[in-house]
Amino acid sequence: MNETKKALLEVRDLSVVFASAGRWRKPVTAVNGVSFEIARGETLGIVGESGSGKSTIARAVLGLVRPSAGQMLFEGQDITYAGHRQRRKVAADLSVVFQDPYSSLNPALSIGTILAEPLIAQKVNRDTARERIGKLIADVGLPPDSIHRFPRQFSGGQRQRIAIARALAVEPSLIICDEPVSALDLSIQAQIVNLLADIRDEFGLAMLFVAHDLSIVRHVAHRTAVVFHGSVMEVGPAEQIYGNPLHPYSVALSAAALVPDPKLQRERRRARSGLSRTPAQQTPTATTGCPFWSRCPERMSKCETVRPTLVRATNETSVACHLYGEKV
């Protein structure tokens, strides 16, 4: 990962700590020293389970939560603690598609107004904006008269199309997609994934694609980062992480995924039960070592006390695990 000069987005040692409700309670570390970068036109997938901090990473990049440590560079400028004015400038190149297409569109505004808002913020003149909105609507496959309608008149898939159109309005170079298809039905999910892939290719966009499902990320992303309890466990080519994961947590995640093929699924189940493991429900105990330590089938004494850092395991893959640390 030496192409830092070319990186569109560069995140270094990002940490986000939330003060929990109650003065005496311990603050919660949602993101703990995460680093990654995204090149122009590249899609990075971030995969993790609930509470892994994957969405917090996305929200930090978007300026919706305040990092407690680390640095974020977007197109070369430091946006870590960007103020309102700087964020508005950044907004010309960075936009977002959220998971829930119901809450992400204001029910009281017409589709036209919703699509105009990013342009208003960038002070685009009215006529240009109107023209642009007409094109956006067509780009995402909605009927032209949609601009006069309201969000409640659209289904989930259609709303997500509107959200995508809004994200495209400013012609960004990076779109953050926070679980954009998790709330949709399978047949609609495929339509939206295709739409995202199409616009990405057409406009040469970079994407940060957050998901809880390895298979969808494999389908969309070039590279995948697997996060667990606020830390990156493994990062590398999406196909490799899906088919041949290295980190014990990635292995567990991949083994637990269900496949719609009964024979294959039976084999996978058998393989999974072969892994010695503690139940996934067990919450990780506070530790100075590896966050996955308490659930890891391959844990060593060192894992409890020494926190592994990301190291090169193969040409393209980095893993935060002592198993691989020793090899290098």
Partner: protein, 659 residues
């Protein structure tokens, strides 16, 4: 949340209009008192004191022979102004402070909390008495003071709705897109705050009026002979032995005013609540909101063709019913399996009569068998499952069909006939463990309840059994689990508890509604393992409702694929998944990202599931089907036998399987 839009809907209700008319008339009468009042309110007539209603004095005369109606009209000036002044102060102060506190949050919030605490703990009446002592009998000063104290209420309210609006993703989006704070506040936040504020203001207007009238009543208002509503009630009280009638108009006017403003607020609130309830769809599944949109979009977006067809769909169920009656006539009595369902139809009332949302559903579950009902939202899978439990949500009902369970017939149109089997013979596990357990009872108390009441166990025996059950479902520390509340458990643990609840009375059939959808991947695998081992240990049958073919492949031996309210394919899971007979099943399996090529396009099914009102005649999938022929639109398509134990609802079944 009371949105601006829903509020305007409420404003159009007749009751709201009536209330506004009453209040408006009062205000106009007060303003135009000089011209409207029939008499001079100060004109005494000692020869005609305390008279009842008469032609000269419509509402009678008071203790000094003054015209009561005129005095009430003049009194309205003071009372209404006092109420409005108080509410204006309270709303301006409270809403401004509340919205700012909610929007900027942080330390400001703590300060506001302290100020509201202070204002809410202050003895209102003492402050008012003090203010009246300080400023003399000046009701305006007292009402401003009252407004300041009531502003605490609006502060809390508007801060709450600001926080709620602020947590909406569309506000996050507005921030990301770089909109100015002013625009975010005015376009995205304030409209959400105004609704609840208006509702509350109309209630508190009544309260302010009470206090104003009360203070005047005890003689702290405007000095006599100025007419005030409160002092007139007091005068009526003094004359209670001589002329009880006097009480009627004086109190009546206060009741009328306050009632109008209370009813106004209540109607608006009702409209918003009803609006939410009406928008809530009739089907139950993963994302309730999602369907809320689809239902509306169906009526709004669908072409008139959809309406033309609704007649046909209305006629269709009758035909289905006849056919089923015939079928049932042939094979009278229970069949071999544990559960047998045939010709099931569930309907909901719509503008044009009962509209079926699920039609002609039939299947069997053998002893120790496991059936997966799979489909997207809108397929009717959840309604089918609820019909099995006799829990079709009102106002829906089962309009046709037969259910045989464990050798007895249950009447699906009579939900109470399921009372005997629910819990004891059929257990149920819901989708989201966190909301499917009662948050205010401990796990132990909830698990023990069916055992004690249905199983007639002693409390000690039930407790012992609870611990056994919690151990059975793999809780690491049953004793601690029994003593904890649902919110103290993780999602996976809560789902284990929910499973234990369903197993309490050792049912023969376990019905699970998307039991792993809300869980993480690794937890999902553990829960499915648990289901499988429990099924073996307790030799139960299972019905799992899911949208996930992976769950089907993992945990079921037969599959029932549903689309738009009907069964489109059924058979052993291995065969259905390896060689789907229906283009819909095949399409869904292809668009599963698992099987697709990385970075390629996913094969898709275009369009979306039609809503019950918009089902076409013939095959309901035809509009989205890549291989549809004109034949597909001709009459209802029956379930065709594919192989000995497989059936599919498609005119091209044989071709599909051959290819």
């Amino acid at each position: 949340m009371i949105t601006w839009k829903r509020l305007t809907v409420g404003l159009r209700r007749p009751m709201a209009v009536a209330c506004l008319l009453v209040l408006g008339t009062l205000v106009i009468a007060a303003v135009l008192a000089k011209w409207i009042a029939p008499d001079d309110p100060y004109q005494q007539d000692l020869s005609n004191v305390l008279s009842g209603p008469s032609a000269a004095h419509w509402l009678g005369t008071d203790e000094l022979g003054r015209d009561i109606l005129s005095r009430l009209i003049y009194g309205a000036r003071l009372s209404l102004f006092a109420g409005l002044l108080c509410i204006a102060v309270a709303v301006l102060l409270g809403v401004t402070a509340g919205v700012l506190a909610g929007f900027f949050a942080g330390r400001v919030m703590i300060l506001f909390d302290r100020v509201t605490d202070l204002l809410l703990a202050t003895p209102v009446i003492m402050i008012l008495l003090t203010v009246l002592a300080v400023f003399g009998p000046n009701m305006n000063a007292a009402m401003i003071a009252l407004g300041v104290m009531l502003s605490a209420d609006f502060m809390r309210l508007s801060r709450g709705s600001t926080l709620e609006a602020r947590s909406a993703l569309y506000v996050d989006a507005a921030q990301v897109f770089g909109l100015s704070r002013t625009r975010i506040l005015l376009r995205h936040i304030v409209p959400n705050v105004l609704g609840p504020v208006i509702v509350r203001a109309s209630t508190l207007f009544g309260a302010a009026l009470f206090i104003e009238a009360g203070l005047s009543f005890i003689g702290l208002g405007a000095r006599p002979p100025t007419p005030t509503w409160g002092s007139m009630v007091a005068a009526a009280g003094n004359a209670i032995y001589k002329q009880p009638w006097y009480l009627v108009p004086t109190g009546g006017i206060i009741v009328l005013t306050v009632l109008a403003s209370n009813l106004f607020g209540d109607t608006l609130l009702d409209a918003t609540v009803d609006g939410a309830a009406r928008a809530r769809p009739r089907r139950w599944s993963r994302l309730k909101k999602q369907r809320q949109a689809t239902v509306v979009s169906a009526t709004a977006v669908k072409t008139p063709a959809g309406n033309a067809k609704s007649d046909e769909t209305l006629r269709a169920p009758a035909a289905v019913f006849e056919r089923d009656a015939r079928q049932a006539g042939e094979g009278e009595g229970p069949k071999t399996g544990l559960l047998s369902v045939s010709g099931l139809e569930v309907s909901f009332p719509s503008a044009d009569g009962w509209r079926p949302v699920v039609t002609d559903v039939g299947f069997e579950v053998p002893h120790r068998g496991s059936l997966g009902i799979v489909g997207e939202s809108g397929s009717g899978k959840t309604i089918t499952m609820l019909a099995l439990l006799g829990l079709v949500p009102s106002p829906g009902k089962v309009t046709a069909g037969k259910i045989f369970f464990n050798g007895r017939e249950l009447d699906p149109s009579r939900p109470s006939s399921f009372n005997v089997v629910r819990g004891s013979e059929i257990g149920f596990v819901a989708q989201e463990p966190m909301v499917s357990l009662d948050p205010v009872f401990t796990v132990g108390a909830q698990l023990a309840e069916p055992m004690r009441h249905r199983g007639r166990m002693s409390s000690r025996a039930a407790h012992g059994r609870v611990l056994e059950l919690l151990d059975l479902v793999g809780m690491p520390d049953p004793r601690r689990a029994a003593a904890s509340y649902p919110h103290e458990l993780s999602g996976g643990m809560a789902q284990r508890v929910a499973i234990a609840l369903a197993l309490g009375l050792e049912p023969k059939l376990l019905v699970a509604d998307e039991p792993t959808t809300a869980l993480d991947v690794t937890v999902q695998a553990d829960i499915l393992d648990l289901f499988r081992s429990l099924q073996e240990q307790l030799s139960m049958s299972m019905v799992i409702v899911t949208h996930d073919f992976g769950v089907l492949a993992d945990s079921c031996d037969s599959a029932l694929v549903m689309y738009a309210g009907e069964v489109v394919e059924q058979g052993p899971v291995d065969e259905v998944l390896s060689a789907p007979a229906m283009p819909y099943t095949a399409g869904l399996l292809r668009s599963n990202p698992y099987s697709a090529v990385a970075l390629g396009r996913l094969p898709v099914i275009t369009g979306s599931v039609p809503d019950p009102g918009a089902w076409p005649s013939g095959c309901r999938f035809q509009a989205r089907c890549a291989v549809a022929t004109p034949e597909c639109a001709e009459g209802s398509i029956p379930l065709t036998t594919v192989t000995s134990h497989r059936r599919a609802r498609c005119v091209r079944v044989t071709e599909a399987v051959r290819s």
